[in-house]
Amino acid sequence: MGFGDQLAQYVISGLTTGAVYALVALGFCLIYNATRVVNFAQGDFLSLGGLMAYSLLIGAGLPMALAFPLAIVAVALVGALLERMAIRPARSRQVMVLIFITIAASILMRGIFKHLWGKQALALPPLSPETPLRLLGATFTPQNLWVLAITLVAIVALIWFFNRTLTGKAMRATAINSSAAALMGIDAHRMTMYSFALAGALGALAGVLITPITSLSYNVGVIIGLKGFAAAVLGGYGSFLGAVVGGLVLGLIESLTAGLISSVYKDAVAFVVLLLVLFLRPGGLLGVKGGNRV
C-alpha cells in the first residue's frame, strides 16, 4: 500500500471518529447554550445508547430498524429525566454546582450500567454486513459510510429543527435570553429539558454508530465523551458549526498523528490540542475573538 493509499485510509477513519466526536460535541453545545453547564454525563449518554441498542436488538430480538431508534428515544428520555430530577430541583443555580451534579449523575449512571450490563465487553453489530469497500486506495467498511451519512442527516435535521420549528426557535430564544423568552410566554424549564433530551438523543446516536467500530461496555463513553468535549472547545465552545468542524478536525488530527507519527500517545493528542487551543486561541477555530479578558 503506497503512502497516498495510507493517507486516504487515515482520512477515512479520522473523519469517521471525527463525526462521532462532532455528535458528542453538539450534545455538549446544546446543554451549554441552554444552561451554561458543561454536562459531564454526555459520554454516558453514548454508552447508554450502545447498551440499550444491544439489549433491544440481541436481548429482545427486535429488528435493527426498530431497536436503534428506540434506543435513541430511550436515552433522550433519560436526558430529560436528568434535567427534571437533578438539574431543575437543584437549590443552587451556580454553574459550578450544576456541573458537579452532572458529574455525580455520571458516576451514578455508570454504576447502574455496570450493574445491569456487567463489566464485560459486548458487541453491537454494524448497520450492514461488513463487506470492505475500496475508494482511492483506501479500504473501509460500510459502517464508515453509515457514520458519515447519518451524522450529516442528523446535522441537517438539527438545522431544520432550530430554524424552522416553533419549539426549535423557542429553544434558541431561551438560550439567548431566558428571562426575555420567559416574558414572551416560553417555558424556559421545558426548553432546557428539551435540550437535555436532544443531547441524550445525539449521544445515543453516536453510541449506536461508533460501538460497532470500537467496542461496547458500560464505560465506553467516558473517554469518547472527553474527546467530544475537546472537540467542542476546539471548534469554539457553544457554537454548533464549531462543534462539527472541531469534531472532524480533531478526528483527523488524531488519526493522522497515530498513523504517521506514533499511536502510543493517541489518547493524549486530543488533549494536547485542547490545551493548545486554550492557550493560543481560546475562542476556538470559529471563535470571533479570544475569550473576554477580565
Binding site: 458516576i107 451514578l108 490545551l275 481560546p282
Partner: protein
C-alpha cells in the same frame, strides 16, 4: 487576636487534641492507614479550597499535581539518589512552574477556561505516566521509593507517618487561614464577588488568580510527595481524572470557602469507598446517589449547612 482568630485556633487546638489521642484508640494499622490517606486528601483539598472557595475557579487537574509531586519526588530519590526532602522541595518547585504555565494564559480569560485546561492537562499527565515507562515504570507503577526521615530516623511506619501527615495538615490549615484573613485573602474573595470593584480597589485580579492557583498546586504536590515516600510505590491510576473529580467533590460536599469544610469533606468521602465495600456491587450507585442528593439539596456544603448558611440561588459566590 480577633474573635474569628480565637474561634479558628480554638477549633484547631481541639483538632490537635483529638489527633494526639486518636492513636491510643486506633492501633489497627489498616485504620491508621485510612487516617493517613485522609490527612493527605485534607492537605490537597485545603489548597484546592483556596482556589475554588475563595477565587471561584475550578481545577480538574489537582490529581495531576498530586501525581507530579509523587512521581518527581519518588523518581529523584529512587532513581537518582536525591535526599527525599530535597526531592520533595524540587517537586514542589517544578509543579509551581507547571501551574504557572497553565494558569497564566487561561486565568487571564473571563469564564471557566481553567477547568477545561486542567482537565486536558490531567489526561495528558495520565498518559505520560503510563507511556514513559523507562522513567515511570509504566502502568504497573514506580517502586523502590525511600522513606522520608526525621533526624536520621526513617518515617516508614504507619504511626510515624501519621504524625508527619497530620502535622503537615495543621501547618497547611494555619497557612491557609492566615492567607484567607489577610489583605490578600480579602482581595481574593472580592475579585470573585465583584471583579470590577475589586480591580477599582487595587486588587490585581489576574496575578492573584494565578498565584492562588500555584499555591493550591503546591499543596497538592507536597501531599503527593508525602504519599510517594509513605507507600514506596506509586501507580498512574492513583492520579487519574477521577481522582481530580473526587478531590473537588470533597471540597464541595464539605463546604466551599470554608477551610473546615475541606477537612469534613475529605474525612467523610475518603473512607466512603471502603465503607461501601460491604455493598460492593452497588458501590458506584451509592456513591453517585449520595453525591447527587448532597449537591442538589445541600449545595452550601456540610459545614455551610451546620453554620446555617443560606443558599444563594443565583450569583457567583457561595
Amino acid at each position: 487576636m480577633s474573635a474569628q482568630g480565637k474561634k479558628f485556633f480554638g477549633y484547631l487546638a481541639a483538632l490537635a487534641a483529638v489527633l494526639a489521642l486518636l492513636p491510643l484508640v486506633v492501633t489497627n494499622p489498616y485504620y491508621l492507614n485510612v487516617l493517613n490517606v485522609v490527612a493527605l486528601n485534607v492537605l490537597v483539598v485545603t489548597g484546592l479550597n483556596l482556589l475554588i472557595g475563595y477565587a471561584g475557579q475550578i481545577s480538574l487537574g489537582h490529581a495531576a499535581f498530586f501525581g507530579l509531586g509523587a512521581y518527581i519526588s519518588g523518581i529523584l530519590s529512587g532513581s537518582y539518589g536525591w535526599e527525599p526532602w530535597t526531592a520533595l522541595l524540587a517537586a514542589a518547585v517544578v509543579v509551581a512552574v507547571v501551574a504557572l504555565i497553565i494558569g497564566l494564559p487561561t486565568l487571564r480569560l473571563e469564564g471557566n477556561y481553567l477547568v477545561m485546561a486542567t482537565l486536558g492537562f490531567n489526561l495528558i499527565v495520565s498518559v505520560l505516566m503510563v507511556q514513559l515507562d523507562d522513567i515511570t515504570g509504566g502502568p504497573s507503577g514506580y517502586t523502590g521509593i525511600p522513606s522520608l526521615s526525621f533526624f536520621g530516623a526513617p518515617i516508614a511506619s504507619d504511626i510515624s507517618f501519621y504524625w508527619l501527615a497530620w502535622g503537615a495538615v495543621l501547618v497547611g490549615l494555619i497557612l491557609a487561614r492566615n492567607l484567607v484573613h489577610s489583605r490578600v485573602g480579602r482581595g481574593l474573595k472580592a475579585l470573585h464577588e465583584a471583579p470590577l470593584a475589586a480591580a477599582a480597589s487595587g486588587v490585581p485580579i489576574e496575578a492573584y488568580k494565578v498565584k492562588v492557583f500555584i499555591i493550591s498546586a503546591v499543596y497538592a504536590s507536597v501531599a503527593g510527595s508525602l504519599y510517594a515516600h509513605y507507600y514506596g510505590i506509586i501507580t498512574p491510576a492513583t492520579f487519574d481524572i477521577f481522582k481530580s473529580v473526587e478531590l473537588v467533590t470533597m471540597c464541595i460536599v464539605g463546604g466551599m470557602g470554608s477551610l473546615w469544610g475541606g477537612l469534613f469533606g475529605a474525612a467523610l468521602l475518603t473512607p466512603m469507598p471502603q465503607l461501601l465495600a460491604v455493598v460492593e456491587e452497588y458501590k458506584d450507585i451509592f456513591f453517585g446517589g449520595i453525591l447527587l442528593v448532597l449537591l442538589i439539596f445541600l449545595p452550601q456544603g456540610l459545614v455551610g449547612w451546620l453554620e446555617g448558611k443560606r443558599v444563594r440561588p443565583g450569583g457567583r459566590a457561595f
